[in-house]
Symmetry: D3
């Protein structure tokens, strides 16, 4: 049985029911999420032993977060409790062609963003681990988070554990003057990484890799990126649409080739966290040593279905996803 450790922030998500806006309701649905947690949640449903390294406030809210983390099947032994704040966001779920709206309360003061994790805490968390996942958003949200991420990446490589890194770069979170130092950090951590999750824009806009879509297929860009950073795998999703129908497909590149899934029709209930379902699917396939094609198909169906489930964190089992792959028009599973 494989053991995976993810490092990332856990946020409190507050969401009105029935697609209402915040000022139309007196009731909120509460859940807890974050890229690392989401990926582990997806993996935990399929027999992977998952562990989260994160920082939570030392109060009933922090302990409620931990309870919800365990509920998803993720081990809580490496959670650190400190301070009194948790990053919080309100989600007003979109419907049809109305976009969802996300509002953050001061994330930068959260326990995760302000607590330095010691080397010994990290080493304890890394003990017995087969793969580490780090979410790139930690590089943008605070200096302490960035320091923790870089230190953990280094330690991971030193211990010979493969590292999976997710760009998760959001321009809007970064001030202009911090951009160049942020790029350096991304490059530093990419050097340690074996598996990278991202997309064309991460390569061209963040890493500023040259690319002329008119003269080069995007697969070439992916392959250049894999080679430049000596990665084992690079993967991500691409969106398209035809009339009112939206599609998503996945790509997975190793050093030799880039494989694609079919285009999957997207029907959306809850838009947040669907990329994390893809990442979880890829990791599942790599752990279980499926072929590249099987892996990217599974991951693409995972992300397709993640659009239809409540919450940021993938919750469908491998069995469910594979049944869907076999019987695409299944109405009821009994």
């Amino acid at each position: 049985m494989k053991h995976i450790l993810a490092f990332g922030e856990v946020m409190l998500r507050l969401c009105p029911q029935q697609f209402k806006m915040i000022d139309q309701t007196d009731t909120l649905d509460m859940s807890y999420s974050g890229t690392g947690l989401n990926i582990l949640s997806g993996l935990a449903r399929n027999g992977v032993q998952t562990h989260l390294l994160s920082v939570l406030p030392e109060n009933p809210v922090g302990h409620a977060a931990a309870a919800n983390i365990r509920r998803m099947g993720v081990q809580d032994h490496h959670l650190i409790y400190n301070g009194n704040h948790i990053g919080t966001y309100f989600l007003e779920m979109g419907f049809g062609n109305r976009p969802s709206q996300v509002t953050y309360l001061n994330r930068s003061e959260s326990a995760f963003c302000t607590t330095e994790i010691s080397e010994s805490q990290m080493k304890a968390a890394l003990s017995g681990i087969d793969l580490v996942h780090i979410c790139g958003i930690a590089l943008s949200t605070s200096k302490v988070g960035r320091k923790n991420a870089l230190k953990l990446a280094k330690l991971t490589t030193e211990l010979g554990i493969p590292l999976c890194f997710d760009f998760n770069y959001r321009m809007s979170l970064v001030k202009l003057e911090e951009r160049s130092s942020l790029i350096q950090d991304y490059q530093e951590i990419l050097k340690e990484a074996n598996i990278v999750i991202g997309g064309k824009q991460d390569l061209t806009l963040l890493l500023e890799m040259p690319f002329d879509a008119a003269h080069e297929p995007v697969e070439k860009l992916y392959q250049r990126f894999v080679k430049a950073y000596e990665l084992d795998y690079f993967c991500g999703t691409e969106k398209s649409s035809q009339g009112q129908t939206k599609f998503v497909r996945g790509f997975l590149s190793d050093k030799q080739e880039v494989v694609y899934s079919d285009d999957k029709v997207v029907t959306t209930y809850d838009r947040i966290g669907t990329g994390d379902a893809f990442a979880a699917g890829i990791i599942q396939g790599l752990i279980d040593q499926w072929s590249l094609q099987e892996t990217v198909d599974f991951a693409a169906t995972s992300t397709q279905l993640a659009h239809t489930t409540y919450g940021d964190s993938p919750i469908l089992t491998q069995h469910f996803i594979q049944e869907k792959m076999k019987h695409d028009d299944l109405d009821v599973m009994r």
Copy 2:
């Protein structure tokens, strides 16, 4: 005013809200359903006197079931109370292209599946009845249920009451070694039936009627079935799709001809019980002596709309369905 008696199991349906999976919630919506009850629920809204013959546990849950049966407009005088268990299933409602998921708790030990109904109880229930409906699923779920169904079918015919039988055959519920005796039971009960609800697969897979789709239109198959079992009517639904749009249409065959409704666009909120809405629509038309075409059109619109309503049991009135038939693009009914 016509009186209809249905015989069938009533199950407790437990369903998370907001399209959540069971392990994402602490709250369940409770309702009660079953093919017989569903059909009666549809008919009761249109002035038909409906009666259910079923067995419920002799405890507050059984009495809550009865309360909900009455709420739907179905008479509860022939409900029998015995034992302490009710068949229970969890429904995790699908969304968009995610299928719904149904999980049964041990159905075979329910009061319905373990209680033999006496001849005198049956005769009391049949008194004054103009049509009896039996759901074929009772043949698969337990030996006692099968025995009750067969006995009731015989008594119904003996009393000269027309019998409506619904295949409702689900392979997954039947063990291989029980298949041949089950087919015999189906054949036996079909001999008593006047109206049968089913589909192509019931004829070819269960009854093993020969059929070569390449050389024979399906109407021929339906007509052969009607003749073989000396039925008055055979009816059911057929699904199709075009791009992302799904359709359903109904067929209704008497001894002379097979008539079809138009293809109806399907938009799905709750997928369970939509076939029962079709059956209720057909029975309504036959009772009210509409033409075959009017009957199948009404039934097809009933099943179309049943995809859009909450719960297994049809809940729209004849008035509502007929308004929809007249004004297909109606947005708001005032």
Copy 3:
């Protein structure tokens, strides 16, 4: 900062959750709405000072209505409290191709429909106001409401305040014998109006303006109407569909020309009040002195998005609507 006064009834809306019918639930969502209130709600989110002139019952329900009016950002200083009844309707929300169903409890006895508003109350409400909105439905629901509406329209014009009038004519609310006197009232109030919201059918069916769609584009009809009643602006929405996709577009006519928005794809969650979102959008543009084209585009996007939000009253901010206009395929707004 502009001040707008609307005159209109406030109704109690009671709506089952989860797309259920009334007899399937024990819980109702409560909100308060009405054309005048809806339009003010949309404007209040964008910095307009809004005031409602209406009559509410003098009891906790009336005060709860006022609390909800204030919650939407509308000033309550001109609300009059009298009697003990509020117009009430049940909304059973449709889903997909199932229409919504609206059931009124005796609206005609509401405080609004039975309370005459004095001239001094009207004058107090009109003080400092830059635009008045009157909803035509008040002409149909009761004699007292009609009298109040006509008196207010006159006073508005006397004070030199521009008047915006919304046809909002529903045949089903009017008895045949009252039709001709109702047309007179409409004509009388249209003479006072500067801005009118309506559609082709209001002109041809209610006002009985001649129109031959085969030989005249509808723009000609709009222009004839503007001229006949010496209006500054006439505007409204037009619906169309292509396969399963529905569209809405807006038109806005001044004395010189008729401009149209693009066709907007409609995805529907809650169908009620979407026309009021259009009206609010038009008024916003006119107040802020946008071009006709900018105004109708904004209003059309407002009505498009109003199909996707809960409740009768527009709740999206100008910022949200304009972001949608800029990035039509936006999934998540952060």
Copy 4:
């Protein structure tokens, strides 16, 4: 098996959850109640066949009311559908020493208060009935209701069916100038009655019977009343308190004697309808021919427990109430 018919209004009760006031919530619990319905609800749980004679609006709300009436176990065959309004009240449930607050929307325009019931409708409803219950509140709420009540009382006596009459007199509902004619109506109906439910104040304040508490025990008053109107039974409840503890006890008088139950400690969750539970308990005992003492004890425990259950309508079974009588300190019933 006994058949009981009650005549009375059914109202829509709208109640915030969690002891909130109306303006603190967006959600209401919906139920349907009324003295006649409440009493039948209590009896229906114990094997009595119950029938309601009432008028409901002819729309989905009226049919939802009927569905809830059937859910309580009451037959709906004599419900009359007419008009579009149902009497509606908001209940803001009290807590501890905060009183509950009831707000009526215009009750006087309800279908029940405005629809005359024909003699043939009444006779149909009276067919096969062993006891009729009329609630005195119908005498106060409208002229039509009063007329219906008096006519039904006469018909009942003519057909030799015993009549149970409940004072249910609320001064606040009656205008001063109508008081004397109201007293006449009460006196008229009391002459037809066999069983009367009421209290000391009904006798002294409404009927203006002389009574000097200092010189006469209240039992004498009760006995004088029984004799004056040639009643079989007169019964009701008396409240008392000691420190913070509140008590209720029941009395039941026949022509010979007045018997009392013990004082029952009152713990209150939902205060409305507790008197109706007492009445149902008395009727149960009289039907089942228990002793006066057994009857009043059962009725007093019924009213005690009705303070602890949700809703206006008694919902506990005879079994539950009798278990409580046997084991007063029972914590959990299994």
Copy 5:
């Protein structure tokens, strides 16, 4: 009509339903509160014009807070929008003898605690105001808040507006080293105040006034305090208990005397904000120029009933409270 301005923080309150702990639920009730807002909420229900001076985040959460403030009847024109954080607390409501539990997320970084309010903003807010209320908790929660409070107090006095100051001192919020400077601030603001709300402990523990309960009645202490700070009024509540029954009473001291209300029995549903109901009651009486005794009786009943209502903010009307004063054993108010 009197105009009152309160200055104080508005917090987001998140509260599980059904007395659950946070880790037992997925749903939270959302409301907004704060001492200043609470007092205004109580006054707004009785015809006082209320205005809040506070700082909210400039995002949908800040605007939802404002919507809820308006819902309570409080004017929002002087709300300032800045930053992205609102002070947040979780309330796990106690039951019976289990205490409630309050957990703050980092309050000190809230928009209110970090935004300096300009003199011109204050002056605009003070225009036309008859009484200002400042909550002492602002002195403890942040330096910016303290500065704002002191500046506002000075300006208030300069403009000749009476100032009401509420100690609201919580030792647990203050670090030891900050205590002495805090005392100075309290003393400074007390010098500006006309009306002060507090208790014995504020005088003896915070202000370190000498007091020997064995040799001096507490009224003497109150009178010494009134004289020392040249106050018009000092008031507060005192708790007591007898067996399992808890009591609260109010005191109100002017320069001449101290008057007390009766002991009021306390039955508790929601414990937070009950002191604010007392303060609102006192201010109401002083504004309306009731006698000291009437004022303290009303305030004490207000606080008694505030224990029985949901939420921090007083929501009962003057009418309701006075009915309770007249009929202490009232069960249902109709």
Copy 6:
């Protein structure tokens, strides 16, 4: 850090909200509980490592149960998945002097009651464990459960691990003819036990130990029991009442003495599982090597507070309970 293993059934608890009866609602709260799980839940909140040995159905319901077990902080590694049924009960929560009502669906067919656990599974679960808890109810509910319990008790002793046994005997679950063999099983398992939880009735009615309350204090009985079965500890609770006030106290006996806690006032919200909170408190004290007096005081406060919290499983932390012990009249904990 101590590791505790509990063996016991996990049941699905379905509970209407707002103190409603089942037939008054369409919504149920879902939770999972059982004596073993409840005790572990209490201990897990205080740093004890807890593990549950149980059998759950191999379907989404079983996995949802496991998710909830983990949420409570209990390790799920020794859960066994088999079959398709989980023991299910409905709880209609009592209020005030109305008892709660529990209705079981067929518990005897649950996965737990029908699955034999192998010796190797037991040994794996016992590895590294410091204390084992077995609930006596397993002896009554099925033969397989009884066999599993006895086998586990034997293995526990063989491995030298202390055994805690809880009588949890409910007469109503046992048929007369099975009583004598059941007593034998109890006696057998008591011989293996070190700590026993129970009460006077378990000793006198089940074990038929002679006891004459008139001539012997109950402590003597407890001491005789401890000696007879060579226990280290025997403990339990005793109830009493005074007027309307109810009390509970705990006793804890070792070989030398019996110590008692104070009488604790009981205020009840949710009555189920309060005995398990006592047991968890005792085990906590014994693990942490507190004095007998400290232990029984803590356990008694735990059970007192468990009456005030939602759900069967203790959820308060050691910190919370100890704060309550220190400040009995605490209203709000911040």
